[in-house]
Structures are given as C-alpha cells and as structure tokens.
C-alpha cells in the first residue's frame, strides 16, 4: 500500500508539475485556437528540439539555463523562418510551417544521435514523451515536514520553473487582456484603433513558446500540443464568452493534468486489483483531454452535435413555446 511519504515524494511533485504545465498551456492555447494558429503550437513544440539539444550538449544537464535559452532561441528562429518562407516564398502558411519545423526537428534528431555517440544522457524519447515520473521531491518524509521551510527550498526545479511560467502567463493575459481579445477577434479593427496587431501576434507566439519549453520536460513536446489545443477547444464549445472560456479552459486543463496523472499512475492497479506497472502519465493526460473534447463535441449544450439537435427539436412545432417563437419569427419576416 502506498504511504504518505511515497505520495509526497513521488506523486505530489509530478502531479503538481503536470497541473501547472496543463494550466499554463491551456491559458495561452485559448489565443492560438481563437487566432486559427493552433498548428503554430505544433510547429514550435517540434522546432525547439535542436535548441534543447544544443543547450544540453553545452552544459550536459537537462535543467540548466542554457537549455531554456537554446529552446527559446530555436522557437524565435522558427517563428521568423516560417514568416520569411511564407512572405518571401509566397507559400501557404501550413506548408511554410511544415517545411521549417520538420527540418529543424530532423536537425535535432541528428544532433541527439551524434551526441549520444559521445555517451550523453539524452535521447529522443524523453523529449517526445516527457519525464513526469522523474520529478522527485526527496525532502519531505511526512505531512508534518511541510511546515518546515527548509523542505520547501528543495522543491524540484521543474515545479519551480513551471510555477513561475504559469504566473507569467497569468500576469501577461491579465495585463493585456483587452488587447489580446481585440487582436484575436478583429486584427484589422485593432490596427485601425492603433494597437499593434503584429506585435501581439509575436507576443502570443513567444508566450506559447515559453509555456511549451517549460512543459516539454514534464509532458513531452508532442503532448504539449494536446494541452495547448484540447482544453481551449473544449471550452470554446461550451461558451460564447471569452472570460468564461479562459476560466473554463484553465479548469479543464488543471483537472486533465491531475486526472490524467492519477489514471496513469494508479489506474492499472485499481483496474487489475493488484499492484501493476504505471502507464505513461503524459500520454494519459492527452488521452483524457481527448475524451473531454469528444464529450464536448457531442454533448455541449449549444454547440455540440447532439446538443444542437435537441435545441433544434425544441424549436419544432410540437413544442408550444417553440411554435410561439416560430410565430414571432414568421410575423417579423412577413412584416
């Protein structure tokens, strides 16, 4: 049976990291979905690979500042290259992204393989699937230890970085809420009103890159895409108001992170009725996000496929209120 010490040392830090990664990605993902730029998240999460490997080869550790700086530089380079290929080459945006991120990812894969020849501890797996299970907090040995401030200073660096990035995302979205909303829904109006829509486009890209880089170590580069898009898309189906959508997506993201981790870690044990090996938590989080999105697609009250059918039926002639409403509509039309 699991002790509280095991939970505090293994599961709590990993789950916290998963929740923070999901919340920060879900929050900035809203603006990607609204701007029809979802694939930018995919492109960035692939394109940061060479930057990560470079930073890693320089320092030899997965944690240092050079890795983060390398990833950020690669993300900015990818953004600039995509824009250059699209404008100068007059190519479709999707094709420009496809060219840039595949070539950068391929460069990263070659760098990893060549670095691995020098016996370096990095492989494509940890970049693709993340290493949620490797986040450990060895300091506390029981609940009573949490009162000791010395324990808190040994919090795993991934959790600290993710907390800082989540805070950064919340602050940026709160500060620039009006501008972000305006430039997302109507960039031309924003430009005529004097807001630099192009600058906010790059701002969103950089914020996505920061969230993706902080999260890739926890959930892996491809599953970052799930967290960027799925909670925001689910929330988009449930509401028509932006503030509600932001809160919903953050809630869904957090719940997906916690629920996915618990399902991955304890699901097999519960299902088998005996201790069993854990499933990949990052994959489970993405799967759960997909399940929630599917549920919203089918059953969302106004925009879901089945929900829409029900409200269409309600307007039918059998329903007295519906008939009344239809009369109002037809009267308005005939007048």
């Amino acid at each position: 049976m699991m002790t509280s010490q095991e939970f505090l040392q293994i599961d709590l830090p990993a789950m916290t990291a998963a929740v923070l990664a999901c919340v920060s990605c879900a929050l900035v993902g809203n603006f990607l979905v609204l701007r029809r730029q979802s694939m930018m998240g995919d492109a960035i999460s692939h394109a940061i690979l060479p930057g990560i490997v470079m930073g890693f080869l320089v320092t030899g550790s997965r944690a240092g500042l050079p890795v983060i700086l390398g990833a950020l530089a690669a993300a900015v380079l990818a953004g600039v290259l995509i824009e250059a290929v699209r404008r100068l080459g007059r190519l479709d945006g999707g094709a420009a992204m496809g060219v840039v991120f595949t070539v950068m990812f391929a460069g990263g894969v070659v760098l990893i393989e060549q670095g691995a020849a020098r016996a370096v501890d990095l492989d494509a797996d940890c970049v693709l699937y993340g290493q949620l299970e490797a986040i450990l907090w060895l300091a506390p040995s029981g609940w009573s230890d949490l009162a000791d401030p010395a324990v808190w200073t040994e919090l795993p660096h991934q959790v600290v970085v993710l907390a800082a990035v989540t805070l950064l995302c919340v602050v940026c979205v709160t500060l620039f809420y009006k501008e972000l909303a305006l430039t997302s829904f109507d960039p031309h109006l924003a430009t005529t009103l004097g807001y630099p829509a192009g600058l906010f486009h790059y701002g969103v890209v950089v914020l996505v890159a920061v969230a993706a880089i902080a999260s890739f170590e926890a959930v892996g580069s491809i599953l970052v895409v799930a967290m960027l898009i799925c909670p925001a898309a689910t929330a988009r189906l449930l509401t028509d108001r932006l503030p509600v959508q932001l809160w919903l997506s953050v809630g869904i993201g957090g719940a997906t992170g916690a629920g996915g981790y618990l399902l991955g870690a304890f699901g097999p044990t519960v299902l088998m009725g005996e201790p069993a090996d854990a499933l990949n938590a990052a994959g489970m989080i993405a799967t759960l996000a997909g399940v929630l999105l599917t549920a919203a697609i089918l059953f969302a009250p106004r925009h879901g496929i089945l929900g829409r059918r029900r409200s269409a039926l309600r307007l039918g002639p059998d329903d007295p209120h519906g008939a009344e409403r239809n009369d109002v509509v037809s009267n308005a039309v005939t007048r």
């Binding site: 979905v33 029809r36 979802s38 694939m39 995919d42 692939h46 290929v85 100068l88 080459g89 007059r90 190519l91 479709d92 999707g94 094709a95 420009a96 992204m97 496809g98 060219v99 595949t102 070539v103 990812f105 391929a106 460069g107 894969v109 070659v110 393989e113 060549q114 691995a116 020849a117 494509a124 693709l128 892996g220 491809i222 599953l223 895409v225 799930a226 898009i229 799925c230 925001a232 898309a233 988009r236 189906l237 991955g264 090996d277 854990a278 499933l279 990949n280 990052a282 994959g283 489970m284 989080i285 993405a286 799967t287 996000a289 997909g290 999105l293 697609i297 925009h303 879901g304 496929i305």
Partner: protein, 401 residues
C-alpha cells in the same frame, strides 16, 4: 571513410540488400513528392502531419491484438494494417470536427494529432510492461530506421510507392480540377468528395509505407518539403509534379545512402535534411519564384519605371530629380551635358508612345488586361496583337471612353 565505398553505395553497387533499400526509399520519395504536390496545392499540408501521428495507436493496438491471438506481433503487414486503420480514423475525425462543430480546421488537426499520439504513447507504455512484449521494433516507427529493413520489405515499399504514383498519373485530370477549382468541379458534376477521399487515401498509403523508413514524425516532410521546393521552379502543374518527384527521389536516395554509410545517422532525419537543403537552394535561387530572382526582377522593374519617368521629364525640359538617374542615363548614352542625345530622344519618344498606348488600352479594354504583363513598361507591340495596337493608335486623344 573511403570514397570508393561512398560511390558504391550511391550507385547501388554496395551489396544487393542496401541497393534495394536505397532504391525503395527513392521510390517512396518520388511517390510522396507527386502526391504531396496535390496536397500542397489543396492547402492540406498539415492534414498529413496529423495523419502520420494518428498511425501510432493503430500500430500499438495491432501489436497487442496480434500478440493476444498468438501471432507474431511484429510482423510488418499486421502493424501497417493497424497504422492504416487508425490513420484513416484520424483523418475522418478531423473532417467530422471541422464540418460539424464550430472549431476551425487547424484546431481539429492539432487536437486529433496530439490525442491520437497520446493514446499511442499510453499503449506503448502498456506494451513495455507486458512479459512477452518486446517493443524495440515498435519504437523504430517513430523516428524510422532503414537498417532493420530487409529485402522483401524494401521491395514491397517500392512496389506500393510505384502503384500510388501510377494512380496519381491516371487521376491527374481529376486531381488538377480538385486543386484549382473544387467548386467548378462540383458544378460540372464531378464526384469531388470521392476524388478528395481518393487523394487522402493515396496520402495515407504513402504515409504508412514510409513509416518504417522515415518514421511517423518526419514522413510529413517528404510530403511537404519537395513539393514546396518544386513550387519555386515553375508555374505549371505537370512541371511541378516532375520536379517534386525528382527532388523527393534525390532526397530518399541520398538520405538512405548517407544513413547506411555513416554510423548513428538516422535515415528519416537525414532524408529530411537533404530535402531541406534542396528546399533552401530552390527558395533562394530558383529562376521562376526564388527570392533572388524575384528581387532581381523587382529591382529591374523599378529601374525601368524610374528611367521612363526621367526620360519623359527630359523630353519636356525637366532634368531628372536624382543624380543617380542622371549618371545612369549618361552611362547608357542617352544624356550628354544634361540634354538628351539623339538616341535618348528616340528612347524617350518610344517609351512615351508605349505608355500612352497602355493608358488607352487600360481605359478602353479593362477586361482584356493580361495579368502577367507590366503595364506601361513591357513593349505593347510584343504583348498585344498588331491589329489591336493599330486600333489603339487610331483612337482619339481623350481620357474618357
């Protein structure tokens, strides 16, 4: 490394097995280049990305089912059948989401891509815990590996790639119609939905047979990069297809050879890097739409307009505004001592006539204006038929028709 060895591999003489692998990969590149061209023109480039990621759960599920039934889980046809199944499911999911919900297509693509991949990762981690499970063979599908490929597999890949290519050639007319004007095609009574599904089916086929060589993350590059590079060389569809096929073939051939020669060089990544270098070269130096050629044409056009303005000004007694233009006209022998020479006067007169005729043409025949001519600069006698030019010359000198 010995140069002889390089040459032998490149010319397919380094043993039958590696020759077949290299040739099979080259065939794959050719087929992907041609089919990817249609996907690119259809603006569907990213759908193939989702398609390739969506194959992972199918591969894992096929392995699990085959193992449960007591078969050899790692047999290639079983795994590829699973990949085909879940890939098709992923594409159908994208189309259903973007058709029946308010979500835009890019969100549908991203969601399907990541969720399917996540399910695949969970299944892989489950396979890893099985007592009998040996998932070493499954992970090669993610990044690709030519070293593990045997002769029969390579021949099967080549055969299927050539079949996909043949289907593309047979359906050339239908695909062209679909890419350039789907509305017109539907109006003419063509079964556009079925043609679209056929194109998606061929893309799925190429993706699935490319999984083992290039891997599911990078197979999309073979479908996007060579066609995008070919786009810079030409404005004609058939030429683009041929160039994309050649570039894709070169990428597959060079990439597979290099990966066979150099240790620790994964085939998929090398193929993509070769394709990427070809793209960079085309992007910069292709004569039709390359960056350098476009900049050169724009600079020449700007100079021609400036020269025309300066000559017209000089004809009416106004010296050119900039010293640079004055020097330029002197170098060309059109101006001496800030006055037009005989040659300069001829050039100025003919350019003014050209400009006037263009003006009249634009006023009287605005619907006939050819799209690709530079109005006012290209000699009108060469752009328009002779009788039309004579008619324009005979028109009275007035601005409104």
């Amino acid at each position: 490394m010995i140069p002889d060895e390089i040459l032998a591999t490149l010319t397919l003489r380094a043993g039958f097995n590696s020759a077949v692998v290299v040739a099979g990969t080259a065939c794959l590149g050719v087929a992907a280049g041609v089919i990817g061209s249609f996907m690119l023109l259809r603006k569907r480039a990213m759908v193939s990305d989702a398609l390739s990621h969506a194959t992972l759960p199918g591969i894992a599920l096929a392995f699990l089912i085959a193992t449960a039934l007591g078969m050899e889980g790692r047999s290639l046809p079983v795994l590829l059948a699973g990949a085909l199944f879940s890939g098709v499911l992923g594409v159908l999911a994208i189309q259903a989401i973007s058709r029946f919900t308010r979500l835009p297509e890019d969100a549908a693509i991203g969601a399907v891509l990541s969720v399917f991949f996540g399910v695949g990762v969970v299944l892989l981690s489950h396979i890893q815990t099985l007592a009998t499970g040996n998932q070493a063979g499954l992970k090669t599908f993610i990044l690709g590996q030519t070293a593990a490929m045997n002769r029969n597999e390579a021949m099967a890949i080549a055969g299927l790639a050539l079949a996909a290519l043949a289907a593309c050639v047979l359906l050339f007319k239908e695909f062209r119609l679909l890419c350039f004007d789907p509305g017109f095609a539907a109006g003419q009574g063509w079964p556009t939905v079925r043609i679209d599904l056929t194109l998606m089916g061929l893309t799925t086929l190429v993706t699935v047979i490319g999984l083992q060589t290039v891997g599911l993350i990078l197979i999309i590059a073979l479908l996007i990069v060579p066609p995008a590079a070919a786009r810079f060389w030409t404005e004609k569809l058939w030429a683009m297809l041929v160039i994309a096929a050649v570039l894709g073939g070169i990428s597959g051939w060079l990439g597979a050879s290099l990966s066979a020669l150099v240790p620790r060089l994964p085939a998929g990544a090398v193929i993509v890097l070769v394709a990427g270098s070809l793209f960079l070269f085309s992007f910069l130096f292709a004569p039709a739409r390359g960056v350098v050629a476009t900049a050169w044409r724009q600079a020449r056009l700007r100079l021609a307009y400036a020269e025309q303005a300066a000559l017209t000004g000089l004809l009416h007694g106004r010296p050119p505004a900039s010293g640079g233009m004055d020097t330029w006209l002197r170098v060309r022998g059109m101006v001496r001592d800030s006055a037009l020479t005989a040659r300069g006067r001829d050039a100025a007169r003919s350019s003014e006539r050209n400009r006037r005729l263009w003006e009249r043409f634009l006023i009287h025949y605005p619907t006939l204006v050819p799209g690709r001519a530079n109005w006012g600069i290209d000699p009108i006698d060469r752009v328009l038929p002779r009788d039309l030019v004579l008619e324009l010359e005979s028109l009275p000198e007035q601005l409104s028709p």
